[in-house]
Symmetry: C2
Subunit: 347 residues, 2 copies
């Protein structure tokens, strides 16, 4: 069946915006004015406003050869919401700006926006603005997420105290292994286009890279159980990098137990198949969008009851440094080895 | 004198962010948490929050061959603030995300951020976040501006009423003519690199394209004189396009007098040199970042006193259509002929 292809030029810029936003329904009571004017207007009714922004560039952050546009739209929103949840805040609104070359059709953009709207519905967020522009080359996405929090109830990276427990939600390293599989299948496809990839038994880890979910559930659970994390960050660059952010900004050290790092069995199996240490995937892989946070010792009982949260270490004095205690009982200084965009590029 | 060149890779992503934001001073009382965490937090103390976002792409929105990076940084902020002022709101915060290839040095980025910070200082706006990413090709900029307005005092595009006066600030078409000069000098330079451009006597119009200023002064003046515009929009795509936005969204028509359209003498001279009708520059040029707005007839006396504001027409019933009354006394239907990003690309 041939796919329809409507040229973007046939709609014009404003026609395109109308087309992409015609089914946009807002659900937030605070949305006073949405898409269609110079700016949007929101009212947070006495709460504080939380703002975060991320840019996704084709060829750097995603490869359209194995990233369905619907997933990409969903992910572009999800990773921004993750930053709002990482403040223990509630996302309420987003703006989505895109730069597109004329290799994209209106149908392709519709797919992308289906993903954007799906994420909005899933997380009760209103799309209230954006910018639609042509690009000479490559697909460019910039999302800004706006949220709300009761006055001064937001959680920063800088509040971790000595003896606090270091906790992480879900499991780590899966997105990185999912990416390795997609990259491998891409190479196989480029060499032998007839071979169909079979990702059936790797659905979990491939899903983790293509369609991450921000941990709204964890933030809600913490609130319900009246647990106030002392520091929080989302895991986008890898566990090491995020722990170092918390320790540096809080002026503390830590002990991280290798054996406590939550790693999914599918991640572990695939890492071994690729000859990669599963712990390295968790420490340096990134894109997990789990929440890393610290809580007071007195919250131990409550935290221990949630199977979605692992206690992976504790906070120490700054002088004791940031340490990884390996399964063999060795102590290593934790280093950030997350993907470094700029040095990668130089290779 | 040789310029210093520090590779971005030598700082790393977080080092680069620290470097670019180390002198970032916030001045807004509502800035609770700025750069350096997952999100920023702001408090608008009972006011409504106004949000706008714009993307600028190298090769589409700017040409680095004739755009100094300092001006580019300034302009990237200015055009976003213009959208906030166009709501009759006050900008308070911005986020700036950039995608850069390794052809840029740290010194080049410093220049860009000098412009960003200069605009922040000029308009009392705090830089509170952003994203710094590598790009495979081209410089990508995405700015989100956040502002505040007293509850329900914002001005949309949709409130124009029959008999309202159609007003515009400053003058129009200058930025377009400035761009034509820069493009011409670029062609001359490419053909004869030895020839130095002399832009001395075109400083005004070249400045209009390279370093536009949002009309904060007009918004403040309207407030001081207790004039509440019924509709407002900023002129980014050309006067025709913006008038049509107001008329369509307000469900009205209009008469625009050609002879009343404010055009600077330098714009007029240069247009004639280029064999372009000056009125066409104003109607279709764009990038003027002036404010187009409608006010009630009863505000005529007040408005007429401000030399920075021209009354260029009035609002009619929708059935009367949107008309341009030429100097010769002919009536033309006003059409949007502003730069259409997508059809341009197909040429």
């Amino acid at each position: 069946m041939e796919q329809e292809r409507t040229e973007i030029a046939s709609l014009g810029e404003f026609g395109l915006i109308d087309h992409l936003t015609k089914n946009n329904e807002t659900v937030q009571a605070g949305t006073i004015l949405s898409v269609g004017d110079d700016s949007a207007v929101i009212d947070h009714f006495g709460k504080q406003t939380v703002i975060s922004t991320d840019m996704l560039l084709e060829g750097v952050h995603f490869d359209l050869m194995y990233t369905p546009l619907r997933h990409l739209g969903y992910k572009a929103v999800a990773v921004n919401l993750s930053d709002i949840y990482a403040m223990c805040a509630e996302p309420t609104h987003i703006t989505v700006s895109i730069g597109i070359s004329n290799r994209f059709s209106v149908e392709a953009l519709d797919e992308f926006y289906e993903g954007v709207y799906a994420a909005c519905r899933r997380y009760n967020v209103d799309l209230i603005g954006g910018d639609t522009s042509s690009s000479l080359k490559g697909f460019v996405i910039s999302v800004t997420a706006i949220g709300e929090v009761a006055p001064d109830k937001f959680v920063t990276r800088s509040g971790a105290k000595v003896n606090d427990l270091l906790c992480v939600s879900g499991n780590l390293g899966a997105a990185y292994m999912g990416l390795q599989i997609l990259e491998r299948e891409k190479r196989i496809f480029l060499e032998s286009p007839g071979v169909q990839p079979d990702l059936g038994n790797k659905a979990y880890i491939v899903g983790r890279i293509l369609k991450p979910e921000p941990r709204a559930d964890i933030v809600n659970w913490l609130k319900e159980h009246e647990i106030s994390p002392t520091a929080m960050i989302d895991v986008s660059d890898g566990l090491s990098s995020e722990i170092l952010h918390i320790c540096t900004q809080s002026g503390v050290g830590c002990i991280l137990y290798e054996e406590k790092i939550p790693i999914h069995s599918e991640t572990r199996d695939m890492a071994l198949e690729f000859n990669i240490d599963p712990t390295t995937c968790a420490l340096s892989g990134g894109e997990d969008y789990e929440l890393l946070f610290t809580v007071k010792q007195e919250d131990y009982e409550k935290i221990a009851r949630n199977e979605q949260i692992s206690i992976i270490g504790y906070i120490t004095e700054k002088e004791e440094n940031t340490n990884l205690l390996t399964k063999q009982g060795n102590k290593h200084i934790l280093k950030a080895q997350g993907w470094n965009a700029f040095s990668e590029q130089k290779k």
